[in-house]
Symmetry: D2
Subunit: 223 residues, 4 copies
């Protein structure tokens, strides 16, 4: 399982992180992760999992899995397929790809069955607590109104982080909690950990940065 | 654009066609396609597009694209991403992955913009005619009740094929029509062409076959 | 079938048009429709169909139907149920409630089977032409970016109206075409008819108006 | 709030319970409920809420609400609208109408805001526990594979009932638990209560019964 505290980067479907550019970001993270001894993972588009996991020696995640088993499911994301392509983990229920409750439960079960790390994304304290009942490896709480914004959740709403950690632990003490939305620098990371989180999930803060290396090094400094 | 008449294989999310097994089927098709001069394409899971297009010199398709542009769309299938991974085309609106009408229109537009071949799947004469109004490269009509079954659409309901061809051509004469559902052998392929289709779209007939080589050779003989 | 030219009001889920307020708007339209001899219809929420059709003698529509038959479909909108409550027609595939292509086809079939008037909403020329292939009573083209706005589609993009009419008629000459988005007054209605439409579909222009009676009378003057 | 123990009937979109037939079933339940002093409620289609709540003096529920506020949501089920039509409660997330986790949370919040009783449906112990974190009035656990079947969940899988009750109470002790799927008679009801449930949610057992009165009386005898 992903060592904590950790920094997980979700590259979404940004042009700046598709194909060879996803590989370049992964290579940069791998280098900084090794130099600094920081735990990091990168979640990439399904079609980029294979090449990324070929080119880097760090945890590559899928951005999504569907609650399915092998069979007749044209165009959906089979957990076995992303694992076979090299993914060691996956996001589940990202705010841009919400799932039904029963399907989150199925996805968590499928991820466990295949030994895939998995991060269930939630939007507030109540849904974080709900997700905890499904016993995933990780929960990442991200208030949707702060995603992609300029102010980190740890500044804009520190309470949602500390209360989510408490709520999750009250249901299942071993579930780890990340936080995200607006995270941009080492201070945000340090604050997240101070609030009880085991790390951060972020996207545009790195992908849209002019100097990605500077940003990733700064993030690592907060661990 | 895919030469016609053609045979398009959709490997879905079958265990028998995930990861290295998708590559093996693609290599088999490539070999038979070259030997026989038959036009063939293979649609694979997004996570298998890169390795398949690295390993074979034949058209690799995606099984799906989402109606999106680069941006914040975690876990969805970006047309640019499947192209960058090596796909030269895509299925759209497969019966196992239906889209809203406005989104099929967007997907066709995105595929054209990126010069991706594209096959819009439909379920009957009326929806085939409707899809024709969106001017895609290809329409593949597949009555859902016959998909995965033992009797080819060309035997069970030849009328749906010939009437779909006629309806599509009445709206846009240059749109090509494939047919699918239950297609298993060269006779089915020959009958499809006789009914006015430009080829077939099939899945389990090959993927679930004990001897895939025999089946693919037989299919090719029907072109 | 709804007489044309016609004015169809969709009250959506506006607070100003829920429950007794939906009835009041329906009564106002009924009165003006009778006085002026104008053809009008009102589409209301499913839970308001019964009381509206009890209280007024004018066509009451549902805002939506689902592509289902009687059975195990908890919470979905059964065509038989809205008819039994008093609806004589329905919207299908509104831009706020998009359906899959195959399901629009099913909804049109179900509406015809039950003798319900039906208006398939579309967003541009291509999807209007596509919808025509399904042979509905009416198509209402509404560019989503203009819905709820201050400028009528007939002013902002008259071309989309005239080209949709032409495209629809090229596929099925008997399908009638309405237009909508930003429609607010009699001039917009008159222009719609001049562009070849058989009437308009509107919502906020009436529902959000301070003086609904004035607006409805003005709209009627454009027929 | 609904008195417990209670029997909640979901009439789905069955032909046998649409329009006037929904009213007849409601009247029958009202009579038996009053005679026997048993707590009962009936969930009907949105278009039948008004007439049912006009005709009977017992709790009428909606089968569904959408996670929306008044506004531009054509064809969706506004909580205010079903309340205005006479509903005093609603089902949320029925297995035939699953919602995303974040939307279940929103629906529960909207129901509380409007003082509507609400029953969140779940499919197993884990999702029941998850739903409990959202603090609804009621949770109804219904294993989907038993819904509509001949064997009651209380016989086929009594464990899922008792474990769900325990799991729910461990998260929020005041949340009440119903169970459903295959429930058909008074023995099933008595067993549900013995297993710790506060009542049952059922559908076909009543709606498809030849003699509905006999079945409802028998169910009431189990309370």
């Amino acid at each position: 399982m992903l060592k904590v505290p950790t920094i997980v980067l979700n590259v979404k479907t940004y042009a700046e992180a598709t194909g060879i550019k996803a590989v370049e970001i992964a290579q940069l993270m791998e280098r900084i992760s090794k130099e600094t001894g920081s735990s990091m993972a990168i979640a990439v588009q399904a079609s980029d999992i294979y090449i990324c996991s070929q080119k880097v020696d760090m945890p590559v995640f899928s951005e999504h899995i569907d609650p399915i088993k092998p069979g007749s499911h044209t165009g959906w994301t089979l957990p076995e397929a992303i694992k076979s392509a090299g993914a060691v983990g996956t996001l589940i229920n990202h705010s841009e790809h919400r799932l039904q409750l029963a399907d989150i439960d199925l996805c968590v079960a499928r991820a466990k069955e295949l030994n895939l790390d998995h991060i269930v994304c939630t939007n507030n304290v109540a849904t974080s607590k709900a997700a905890a009942a499904l016993c995933p490896n990780f929960i990442a709480v991200e208030p949707p109104e702060l995603i992609g914004g300029d102010i980190s959740v740890t500044t804009a709403d520190p309470d949602v982080v500390s209360r989510s950690v408490k709520a999750v632990k009250s249901v299942e003490s071993k579930v780890r909690v990340l936080c995200g939305a607006g995270v941009k620098n080492g201070k945000d990371v340090a604050k997240a950990i101070e609030l009880g989180a085991d790390g951060v999930l972020l996207a545009s803060g790195v992908v849209k940065a002019k100097n990605k290396e500077t940003v990733i090094r700064d993030l690592a400094s907060g661990l």
